[in-house]
């Protein structure tokens, strides 16, 4: 079970109050976590990554285990701390503005 923490606007869209728990087949990757997230919450399609190209939206970041995974290959296996549910997979709306 993988824990996913969403930014407030996406929690509101998905109608969830806290972290989302997902069952993701091994080996879990950023791509497969997002696939599972969008399958469970179709309203999130297009809000984190492009519908067609699947590229990450520019102001979205992926963090886990105090690491920025945003630029890692989407098919790279996630750390066992994430796949075991010990650490959350964080979807971050980047700080932007003044």
């Amino acid at each position: 079970m993988i824990r996913v923490a969403l930014p407030a606007h996406l929690r509101h869209l998905a109608k969830v109050g806290g972290e989302v728990e997902l069952e993701v087949p091994d080996p879990a990757t950023v791509g497969s976590v997002l696939d599972a997230l969008e399958a469970k919450f179709p309203v999130l399609r297009g809000t984190i990554r492009d519908h067609v190209t699947k590229s990450r939206r520019p102001f979205i970041r992926f963090f886990a285990c105090e690491q920025d995974l945003s630029h890692d290959p989407v098919d790279a296996p996630l750390d066992v701390a994430v796949t075991s549910g010990r650490e959350p997979f964080l979807v971050i709306g980047a700080i932007a503005g003044g």
Binding site: H9, L13, V43, R45, G46, H51, F59, A96
Partner: protein, 371 residues
């Protein structure tokens, strides 16, 4: 009992303002979709309780929300806007080719006859249509495929298709306006298009009279006489009496002919409204006086409408989507400002009062007349 429902899109959410036909006391609902940019909210003429909202964010992209109970509750519908076929390029600010990229929906136009049909004008400029209530969207690519498409260039606000006008009488006819390409007309339900910009003159272009490249800000028509079109161009207020085949200037005695919105009185096809703005680099009213100008002669002769509007130290803007009219017996005129005020005149512009004063910056105003 009759009344009005004013649909307001702002930089930080949507608001719904309701009143009875007197338009004196208002109920304010919102913010809906708090924190999101709401470019446009518009109801279906076929089913007034069916309302669509364009909800977007620089972080999270585009959503379309639909209500079937007059805005009390909302459900997201389809948000997949994929250009048809080979994407191609348009011109970028520096003159180089730039691939078409979907950014957001500027304008939603529900069909005049089919409750489940709705059009979306998007940036980068294209027109999409849904025939299933917004669940899925298909590009009407004959527009982007117009031969001039590779030469279209963005205005300062992006290359947006911001205006969609449906002809209520001539079957299959519709107009769109694109900044900065101009006005286009289709006579076959959006399958094919041609530029209708003859008579427009823009000194900011290398060829001021070119077929395309004009920064059209808004066009409007009266439903009883749809061959007559009114246009607020970047500079110049214009009129066409032949469905866009030719245009002539009607700026007349306006203090300034720059501006964004233009609209037509619900019962008087020759009565039109604009809000002059000082210039394209000073997006506020001339002399700090917020004045709506009304022409009862279809242009050229304009009168300032000021009663109830701030006449000193006012430096707000009124954006292209932010003016609308109701169709009650005494036609109501509405507009919203970048300062967060929404004003109503229940008597065709003679007297104004703010409905609300402190909303986020207003991007769009639409009105539904409820009977």
């Amino acid at each position: 009992m009759s009344g009005v429902r004013v649909l307001v899109g702002t930089k930080k959410g949507a608001f719904i303002l309701t009143s009875d036909a007197k338009r004196e006391h208002w109920n304010v609902s919102g913010p809906h979709f708090a924190g999101w940019e709401i470019y446009h909210v518009k109801g279906s003429p076929v089913d007034p309780n069916r309302i669509y909202t364009s909800q977007s964010s620089g972080w999270f992209g585009q959503l379309i929300q639909q209500s079937n109970d007059g805005g009390k509750s909302w459900e997201p519908v389809g948000n997949e806007f994929v250009y048809d076929g080979i994407t191609g390029t348009h011109q970028w600010y520096d003159g180089t080719p730039h691939p078409w990229e979907f950014k957001r929906v500027w304008h939603i136009e529900p069909s005049l006859t089919e409750a489940d049909t709705v059009y979306a004008g998007v940036e980068d400029a294209a027109l999409f249509r849904s025939t299933d209530g917004g669940k899925s969207w298909k590009e009407l690519s004959g527009l982007r495929g117009h031969g001039s498409g590779p030469h279209w260039a963005p205005g300062a606000g992006g290359m947006c298709l911001h205006t969609v006008v449906l002809d209520p009488i001539t079957r299959g006819r519709m107009y769109v306006a694109i900044s900065a390409a101009g006005t286009f007309r289709s006579d076959d339900d959006g399958q094919s298009w041609r530029a209708v910009n003859k008579g427009l003159h823009s000194e900011t272009m290398p060829d001021p009279d070119a077929e395309v490249g004009h920064c059209v800000h808004r066009i409007a028509l009266h439903p009883s006489r749809p061959n007559v079109l009114f246009m607020q161009k970047h500079w110049d207020v214009m009129r066409s009496d032949d469905a866009g085949e030719s245009w002539r200037e009607i700026s007349g005695n306006l203090p300034c002919d720059f501006g964004f919105p233009i609209d037509v009185h619900a019962h008087e096809p020759e009565t039109i409204y604009v809000v002059p703005i000082k210039s394209d680099s000073e997006h506020y009213p001339p002399e700090g006086k917020l004045r709506v100008y009304r022409s009862r002669t279809g242009g050229n002769e304009w009168e300032a409408l000021t009663k109830g509007l701030p006449q000193k130290d006012c430096y707000v803007n009124v954006l292209r989507e932010a003016m609308a009219v109701d169709s009650l017996d005494s036609c109501g005129i509405y507009f919203g400002t970048t300062g967060g005020q929404v004003y109503c005149s229940p008597d065709a512009g003679d007297n104004w009062a703010p409905i609300v004063r402190d909303l986020p910056s207003v991007m769009s105003v639409e009105v539904q007349t409820l009977r």
